[in-house]
């Protein structure tokens, strides 16, 4: 029970710190923070499946893109308001995740990685194939109407940051609550020893599907929000790079920790931001950092803190 209070303090404290940062940061960094917060929602979605349930997907770009295109197409072609389009994006991601999960979960381990990767590639190619509507690689810019939510014009930097912070905080507190819940603890049990969980009477096949759908839906929400806040929808967000990124963020920040995704996205963002100013080979710097991490802190930053200092870290 003390852990629950600590957890509330930790997560509430982080949200408060972010709000303080949002209010005080200079424009350049405030813009970065907006992007980091939205991508952290994507990373949290990924972490739910990889970090908590122990399923390594290489196809989450499919869910991110499903949310993004669900939002973008229904707003640009269907003329929906931003709020309705957001719901459409989330629904599209949930549907795609349900179908993908139902098929991909028939495999496990490496086969699961390959099958999810193939589904994501098929999704990417579908976006290109339907170029008449999606404009393929080129993508499309969203109309102004799709970027007004509850009376706020999200084209302005301030409103955009507030929207990103609100979205992040809601998802952050929700995943924190989930990991402490019955469902969350059962997913952790599946990660730790699936056969034992099954032989305690848990329907692990169903629970893994639930995890894929929750994870895919959260990723899709991030994709839809990204389109809404930055006004652009394009096929590059469905490429394999966007499937690998959340894996790297979560590994860097700490898989199976609630704060890991935020830490990972922020570190990677500023690592690339800083190194690309120093050298053109900035990906080399990012690669070296990741290798160092795997060697010296394989559980990521938050995982290291949990092991060394705060074993209660959720």
């Amino acid at each position: 029970m003390i852990d629950a209070r600590r957890s509330l303090l930790l997560h509430g404290g982080i949200v408060a710190c972010l709000a303080l940062l949002a209010a005080t940061l200079p424009a350049y960094h405030a813009g970065n923070l907006t992007r980091i917060l939205v991508l952290a929602v994507y990373a949290m979605g990924y972490n739910l499946l990889f970090g908590y349930t122990g399923l390594l997907s290489l196809g989450h770009a499919l869910f991110f893109a499903a949310g993004m295109y669900g939002f973008g197409l229904s707003a640009a072609l269907g003329g929906l308001s931003a709020g309705a389009a957001l719901l459409a994006g989330v629904a599209a991601a949930a549907l795609v995740a349900g179908l993908t999960g139902a098929l991909a979960l028939r495999t496990r381990d490496v086969a699961f990685m390959i099958v999810t990767l193939m589904f994501a590639q098929a999704g990417y190619l579908t976006i290109l194939y339907l170029g008449t509507w999606t404009r393929g690689d080129e993508g499309f810019v969203l109309p102004a109407a799709a970027r007004r939510l509850a009376g706020f014009d999200l084209r302005g930097d301030g409103a955009r940051l507030v929207a990103a912070l609100t979205l992040f905080s809601a998802c952050f507190l929700a995943t924190a609550a989930l990991t402490g819940s019955r469902l969350g603890r059962t997913l952790i049990a599946i990660r730790e020893n699936e056969e034992r969980a099954r032989m305690l009477g848990y329907d692990t096949a169903r629970l893994k599907l639930v995890a894929v759908v929750l994870s895919g839906t959260l990723s899709g929400l991030a994709g839809a929000a990204y389109a809404m806040l930055f006004g652009y929808v394009g096929a590059s967000f469905a490429t394999v790079q966007y499937s690998i990124l959340p894996l790297l963020w979560v590994l860097l920040g700490g898989a199976g920790t609630t704060v890991g995704p935020l830490v990972g996205v922020a570190l990677m963002f500023y690592l690339i931001d800083w190194s690309s100013r120093v050298t053109d080979a900035y990906m080399l710097v990012a690669g070296a950092a990741l290798i160092g991490l795997t060697l010296f802190a394989p559980q990521g930053v938050a995982g290291l803190i949990r092991r060394k200092a705060a074993p209660w870290l959720p």
Binding site: R185, A189, E192, M199, Y202
Partner: protein, 241 residues
């Protein structure tokens, strides 16, 4: 009229490749009875219990639980009907605290985290692991891990408790503790015990079933099994030598 039949198998059979692991086994287990399943290595004991628990699908035959055909049901659904199962090779959540291992066994049926924690501590107290509740289960000694797995079974308060070689690798005092735990089970609990330690079998079993080369060669009370010439030839004679 005997007690209600809790578990029944009819013609349960399984082959792996060309090897017959179980061949047409008919067995009935009434509520409250402890049935020991013995037989030489490779006689099909583990395959038989795995088919009952739903971990292995039989080639032929049926499994009935409380008169209901559960042959097509997946393992988790059978567990939910009142079975508990401990693995031959100890299987706990090694990286989770001892406490959470037992809590997971309870949480499926017990509502409210407060009640779950209370029952967890009661169960851990009963098996003598309360002092180690906050250690990772993987840090426990081998014997304590076995005890933890039994505690996870006890916590589920099963109607049928299947134990696959629970005393394997335990020290003498640990075996004695295990026997005491089994003695403490509610009278209505049926136990299917796969066991090599004949002292434990003689001490706990109401009846003994003997498997040899996948076939059931004898079922009966311990005295009769001990005297059965076929059993002596197949098993006891060599094990005691």
């Amino acid at each position: 009229m005997a007690a209600v039949t809790l578990l029944e198998t009819r013609g349960l059979s399984k082959s792996f490749g060309g090897v017959t692991a179980c061949d047409g086994i008919d067995l009935a287990l009434p509520a409250g009875e402890t049935l020991a399943l013995i037989g030489p290595n490779g006689s099909g004991k583990s395959t038989f219990t795995a088919m009952i628990a739903g971990r292995i699908r039989p080639d032929r035959g049926r499994v009935l639980l409380r008169g209901r055909d559960v042959t097509a049901l997946p393992a988790h659904a059978r567990i939910a009907m009142g079975m508990a199962y401990t693995f031959q090779i100890t299987s706990v959540f090694a990286d989770l605290p001892v406490r959470e291992n037992v809590a997971l066994a309870l949480r499926r049926t017990v509502r409210g985290e407060g009640r779950v924690q209370l029952r967890t501590e009661q169960t851990l107290g009963r098996v003598g692991l309360l002092a180690r509740a906050d250690q990772p289960a993987g840090d426990l000694s081998y014997g304590h891990q076995r005890v933890l797995e039994i505690a996870m079974g006890l916590a589920q308060n099963p109607a049928l408790f299947i134990l696959d070689e629970p005393t394997q690798g335990l020290s003498e005092p640990e075996v004695a503790e295990f026997v005491a735990l089994m003695d403490d089970l509610p009278a209505a609990t049926a136990v299917l015990l796969v066991e090599h330690n004949m002292d434990v079998v003689m001490r706990l079993a109401g009846r003994i079933a003997v498997l040899d080369a996948g076939g059931l060669i004898a079922v009966g009370p311990p005295d009769r099994i001990r005297a059965d010439p076929a059993v002596q030839a197949a098993y006891l004679g060599t094990a005691d030598a």
